[in-house]
Symmetry: C2
Subunit: 218 residues, 2 copies
């Protein structure tokens, strides 16, 4: 198979790439990397990502890493497949807000939300203790970011306009994890944000990601 | 003028956008925002960027923020102007590595380098004391990131391949600031990284950015 995703289905970054592949109706091979055994720090994986982080991605002889970069590549390379409004390769004016809200996800939403995912979802899985002070701090920071989202989502149904794009999609793994934790209250307090979360989590492409995760419970 | 950049020429993010505009031979209007007077937190600026950070960007009636997003928009909207190899709108396979190394800049290079810029370049300008322990910590982190760059730049002249792209360009403001500080040694220790820094800093488009900065010394 031409497309291979190397990683663990517990990694939000890996789930982000599968969400994009599913929106584009693309088949791929999942190559499981045993992170507890440190396989992501071994020579063979470092050839895919020199920073030793999942996912690693292959499309034929093209090797890529960084989930958001992989998703931009997929959306451009397979523009005519599956959901064709995920990005707008031919329309810079419509693409502008997609670029903006992809950056907001990466620069503003991701830092507090990924720390909350680690404290509230990953640490319990690994039998580690959650740091309550860190949780409170990052819930506060996430709340400030989501206040801006609330205003934005009062103006348009999705972050970059009237349709679901990569800017929304990139949020899915963290939102999905946090909805199962006490940090859910930060989202629930904001009606437009809550409606948006429910909408994007209900997409069939995301349901397929969760099904893949269930098939690999290790 | 159609394109307006609102901000301060001391902000690395603002300089990043001007570097891209200059590569694309685009004229723009610079609208100075007095950050010491808190103008970036006022209603009029928040309409451009709800997070209250520079730059704000206008191209006709399109309003954008986040410097890396603005640069992606500029490269796509003005693909046929100026440097036409800054990105590859028509070639996803060539664009893949550009996306990857743009993300590496944003996710790996920026966190330690922007903290070093603040400690070593901005704090002295504002009469604040540099935190030496923070400097040592972030120099260490930056060094680890640049070790990966050193290997990469031993394989190709620029980060995404044989030509200068947005992936290189986005690094310019932080590198330019750090070259005038003690953190320069982290770059100087790595021959391929040093040669790459000297090469990209010597671009005429970057010299024009520095000339603009000198015209606005406030």
């Amino acid at each position: 198979m031409a497309i291979k995703v190397h990683g663990s289905v517990f990694s939000p970054a890996v789930l982000r790439v599968f969400a994009c592949l599913n929106e584009k109706d693309l088949e791929s091979e999942y190559v499981e990397i045993n992170m507890r055994a440190g396989e992501h720090k071994k020579e063979s994986f470092l050839a895919l990502n020199p920073f030793g982080q999942v996912p690693g991605f292959e499309d034929g002889d093209l090797k890529l890493f960084e989930s958001r970069a992989i998703n931009q590549y997929i959306a451009q390379a397979y523009a005519a497949k599956g959901n064709q409004q995920l990005t707008f390769v031919q329309d810079a004016k419509k693409m502008g807000p997609v670029y903006v809200w992809m950056e907001v996800e990466a620069q503003k939403f991701d830092p507090p939300s990924s720390k909350l995912v680690f404290e509230l979802a990953i640490k319990p899985l690994l039998g580690m203790n959650t740091d309550d002070a860190a949780v409170a701090e990052h819930e506060g920071k996430l709340g400030e970011v989501l206040d801006v989202y609330e205003a934005r989502l009062g103006q348009s149904k999705y972050l970059a306009g009237d349709c679901f794009t990569l800017a929304d999609l990139n949020h899915l793994p963290a939102i999905n994890y946090l909805m199962g934790t006490t940090a859910r209250k930060v989202f629930d307090a904001l009606p437009h944000v809550s409606a948006w979360c429910a909408d994007i989590l209900a997409r069939p492409a995301w349901a397929k990601v969760l099904a893949l995760q269930k098939q690999h419970p290790s």
